[in-house]
């Protein structure tokens, strides 16, 4: 398969009152066309920031200070702000966690759908309306024509997330970034949205980068997984491998913290402690303060991400 | 945040030091404090520092420009007005009226508003209904209209002016105090005070009022600014302070007639108002940041 996205040693920092704080510390990723890659991690691990910097829509105090992003063969660090803007919506687009707040409350669904079609594909208003209705139907919205004239507050959360997906896909992007797309939705709607995203990959061959903290979502949808901790990838593998044979102690901790309904567990094995504050990163392996296997080596040395097979890599001395 | 709890806890040296440090950290707050301090000092020391009697007319030295202008002299630093009165002396005495009216009207309005707001918020029911509907009616109509009607009936004087300003601007305080009272009333410490049989009167003054005070002080300070402008406006319109008393607004109305020939007559009193009001606003904004962060924005 052809290469779609390549991220090389990406580093992102934020300007705060106490100086710069780095939240993404050298992330490298690769995605093929039509692939679904999941980035998993707790909040504060830098996974959302990574996705925002791929689209160049970081908040004003954030900046990419090192590393490169390629979309197909194009080096996105070398293009102007305006060229980057043209890629957004058309070549790559994004859906967000909160369908309640991600749509503009004062414009109709139709307006918000047409807007990017008219801009990115130079469509006339009538064409854009037709295409908009098609897109709403594609994402499984009944009564699409009526919904075009509705305002966001008149739709349910699940419907809004479908609308967001319709908007994101309307210009047929090669890459869709989904930042916690189902977190705010209830379980049945979650399933439907994930199924919808899988269908879309089948139909349109869109590459999907899904950001989540939920390994259940990963198992359901992803082809490959990258586990992020404290701004770095600590383990990367195909979904099958990761679930069958997790290596990194952090990954194992995550696995163990999924409650299993049928198991009788004596003790909920989850990871103690919290994601470190980016301003006070621990030395050596960033996971060592929470790691059951940590020893002196982990305190003083920073492990590299090393391949253990063609489809599996880990950042740990001990496994 | 957390500032609220600091400001509301019993004062101690450490807290005072913190407030002081915050004042130093806010340049506008410091400027505001200096301006206000300066204005109050001038008002108090007016008879001592003023070079002339502000009402002293001098037909020979009419409309003398300030000393740096052509024809001006250091005898009258900021020049004289159409009756030959020294503008600097009038500015110095004018500060007395601005500050006197500004503060007493705010104290009057604050007292009325605090009282009615506490009653409406604490007792609720019919008290609340009557008080709040009156507040609504006052809010629907520009204050200045009420003031004009009252002044038309009673005729202008210093006392009327203070009464009118105080009697029409109390609604802001009443509304704020009422809504704060409503929420404080539900706090645990008020409920437990009630449970051990404290009298309503005691609860209101001992438990509720002290907790309303920080927001109240902030709003009152900012309203001093509004009141100073209102006093100047009414005096300018001939409905406030009357000659021979001196007010910046009154000086402006003289200056309006001579603007074509003598720019200084109207310029200085206006500057005095603007700078004083600016100082009060800066001070009020700073107090808001320190005492009551939730009022922000």
């Amino acid at each position: 398969m052809e290469k779609l996205l390549q991220v090389e040693n990406l580093k992102v920092r934020f300007k705060t009152n106490e100086g710069y704080v780095s939240t993404v510390n050298g992330v490298s990723l690769e995605m093929k066309k039509g692939e679904i890659l999941a980035i998993v991690g707790e909040s504060g691990s830098g996974k959302s920031v990574t996705s925002l910097s791929i689209l160049d829509i970081l908040p004003p105090n954030g900046e990419v200070y090192d590393g490169e992003v390629y979309l197909e063969d194009k080096n996105l660090n070398k293009i102007s702000k305006n060229e980057y803007r043209k890629l957004r919506g058309k070549e790559m687009s994004m859906i967000f966690q909160e369908p309640m707040t991600a749509l503009n409350p004062v414009f109709t669904i139709g307006f918000q759908l047409r807007e990017s079609l008219q801009l990115n594909l130079k469509m006339k208003k009538s064409e854009a309306t037709k295409k908009g209705i098609e897109m709403l139907e594609l994402v499984g919205i009944p009564d699409a024509e009526k919904v075009m004239t509705r305002f966001p507050h008149q739709l349910s959360g699940g419907m809004r997330q479908r609308v967001m997906i319709a908007i994101a896909l309307s210009c047929d992007p090669k890459l869709l970034i989904a930042d916690e797309p189902t977190t705010a939705l209830d379980v049945t709607i979650q399933k439907q949205i994930l199924k919808l995203m899988k269908n879309i990959r089948e139909k349109l061959n869109t590459g999907i980068l899904i950001i989540t903290h939920d390994l259940g979502v990963v198992a359901e949808i992803a082809d490959r997984v990258a586990v992020m901790y404290a701004g770095e990838i600590v383990e990367e593998a195909s979904v099958f491998e990761l679930f069958k044979n997790p290596k990194h102690p952090y990954t194992r901790g995550l696995m163990a913290s999924i409650p299993k309904i049928h198991d009788v567990v004596d003790k909920l094995h989850s990871i103690e402690g919290m994601v470190p504050n980016p301003a006070e990163m621990p030395s050596g392996c960033k996971f060592h303060p929470r790691c059951p296997l940590a020893d002196n080596e982990c305190v003083s040395n920073h492990p590299k991400l090393e391949k253990i097979s063609d489809t599996h890599a880990k950042r740990c001395f001990k496994v | 945040m957390g500032v609220t709890s600091i400001a509301r806890s019993p004062s101690s040296k450490r807290v005072n030091k913190k407030v002081f440090n915050r004042l130093l950290a806010s340049p506008t707050g410091l400027v505001g404090l200096c301006i206000v301090f300066f204005a109050v000092t001038i008002a108090i020391l007016a008879p001592v520092i003023s070079p002339y009697d502000p009402a002293l007319t001098n037909p020979v030295d009419r409309l003398v420009p300030p000393f740096w202008s052509e024809g001006g002299s250091t005898k009258y630093i900021l020049g004289t007005d159409n009756l030959g009165r020294d503008i600097l002396s009038r500015l110095i005495y004018g500060s007395r009226i601005s500050i006197l009216v500004g503060i007493s009207a705010v104290v009057l309005a604050g007292a009325i508003g605090m009282f009615l707001g506490l009653i409406a918020g604490y007792y609720g029911k019919i008290w609340d209904f009557v008080i709040m509907r009156t507040v609504d009616a006052f809010l629907a109509i520009p204050n200045i209209l009420f003031m004009l009607i009252i002044l038309a009936v009673l005729g202008p004087s210093l006392m009327t002016l203070i009464l009118v300003l105080g009697g029409t601007t109390w609604v802001v305080y009443a509304r704020m105090v009422r809504s704060e009272t409503l929420s404080i009333k539900e706090k645990e410490y008020v409920k437990s005070a009630k449970a051990i049989g404290a009298k309503n009167f005691r609860i209101i003054f001992k438990y509720i009022m002290p907790n309303v005070l920080p927001s109240f002080i902030v709003i009152a300070t900012l309203n001093v600014a509004t009141t100073i402008i209102l006093e100047a406006s009414l005096s300018f319109l001939g409905l406030g302070i009357q000659s021979p008393e001196v007010s910046w607004g009154l000086m402006l109305s003289d200056g309006r007639d001579y603007v074509a020939t003598s720019w200084w007559v109207a310029t200085f009193p206006g500057l005095a108002i603007t700078i004083t009001v600016l100082g009060v606003i800066f001070l009020g904004d700073w107090l808001r940041d320190v005492l009551d962060p939730k009022l922000k924005g």
């Binding site: 749509l103 | 109509i141 200045i144 004009l148 038309a152 319109l237 607004g249 600016l278």
Partner: protein, 304 residues
């Protein structure tokens, strides 16, 4: 539309309360005859007037009669102009409305770009500058600003007329004097409202769609920022109208404000009452309009 009528009905008690307050102030706090007749009238004239006005009836009857005549638009005659007070006020109304509207437009033209600019350039020198000017604009009494404008543009530069009305040139200075304070307040409001909106999720969505930054700011953010601005501006109508009274006096602008101030100075109570009543109605109408605009701006209101 239903809301609109509902709001119209809600204003009725306020109007009744105003008449009551005016009635009490005028009839109870002094000798109304002394207020309604020129000071050199004879005792007999006063007695006749007292009888003619029904002042010997009890207060409730007087109030009902008073209300009756107000409903018919009869506020009495101005002793200064010897004409019907209401007609006098209504004749002056267009000039006042013109001044208020032109100032509002001016204030909007100035404050919208300044407010947006200082929000998107937050904490920059430009932001500091704009915020600084708006605080000074708020602190300056508008009548002093008016005098200073006359000093600079009429006296020193001889560009614009000192006072009066009729041409566009006459309108500029009063409108600037009146509009500055409003513009200062609006700039501050737009800035803080824009700052809040620019941090919202849907702004990130708009950016992710590849929209021009100008569209993101001026369409997606500004449309939302306007909602709180309109709400608060509606509450500022009082300030605007209070400002008109004084600005009209400074520039000898022949509006209701100038008439009212003259009438207050002369104690021409018929005119005072008519003017107060008309201004009160103007405030209520502009509040209704603001409410209507607010509903148009925020689709969430209609269906809730």
């Amino acid at each position: 539309m239903k809301y609109f009528f509902l709001n119209v009905i809600k204003t009725v008690p306020v109007l009744i309360l105003i008449t009551l307050i005016v009635f009490i102030l005028v009839r109870v706090t002094g000798d109304p005859v002394a207020l309604m007749i020129s000071e050199n009238a004879t005792e007999q004239e006063k007695a006749e007037l007292r009888e003619a006005l029904g002042l010997n009836d009890n207060l409730i009857v007087q109030y009902i009669n008073y209300m009756g005549s107000i409903i018919q638009g009869d506020f009495g005659e101005s002793f200064r102009y010897n004409t019907d007070a209401l007609t006098l006020v209504l004749d002056r109304l267009p000039a006042s409305i013109e001044l208020a509207i032109v100032s509002m437009i001016l204030a909007t033209i100035v404050s919208v770009p300044l407010g947006i600019l200082s929000a998107i350039k937050r904490n920059s020198l430009l932001d500091l500058f704009i915020t600084g000017i708006s605080v000074v604009g708020k602190a300056m009494p508008n009548f002093w600003l008016g005098i200073m404008l006359i000093l600079v543009f009429s006296v020193m530069l001889s560009l614009l007329p000192v006072s009066g009305s009729g041409t566009l040139a006459h309108t500029i200075l009063p409108a600037v004097a009146l509009g500055t304070g409003i513009a200062a307040e609006m700039t501050r409001l737009i800035r803080s409202s824009m700052l809040e909106i620019l941090g919202q999720d849907f702004i990130r969505t708009a950016r992710s769609k590849g929209l021009f930054e100008a569209v993101v700011v001026n369409v997606h953010a500004f449309r939302n920022a306007l909602i709180p601005v309109v709400t608060i501006m509606a509450l500022q109508t009082s300030t605007l109208i209070g400002g008109t009274l004084i600005t009209e006096t400074v520039f000898a602008w022949p509006g209701v404000g100038q008439l009212l101030i003259q009438a207050v100075n002369l104690r021409d109570m018929a005119v005072v009452q008519a003017a107060v009543f008309i201004i009160a109605i103007a405030v209520i109408v502009s509040n209704l309009l603001a409410d209507l605009i607010y509903r148009l701006l925020d689709p969430r209101i209609k269906y809730d």
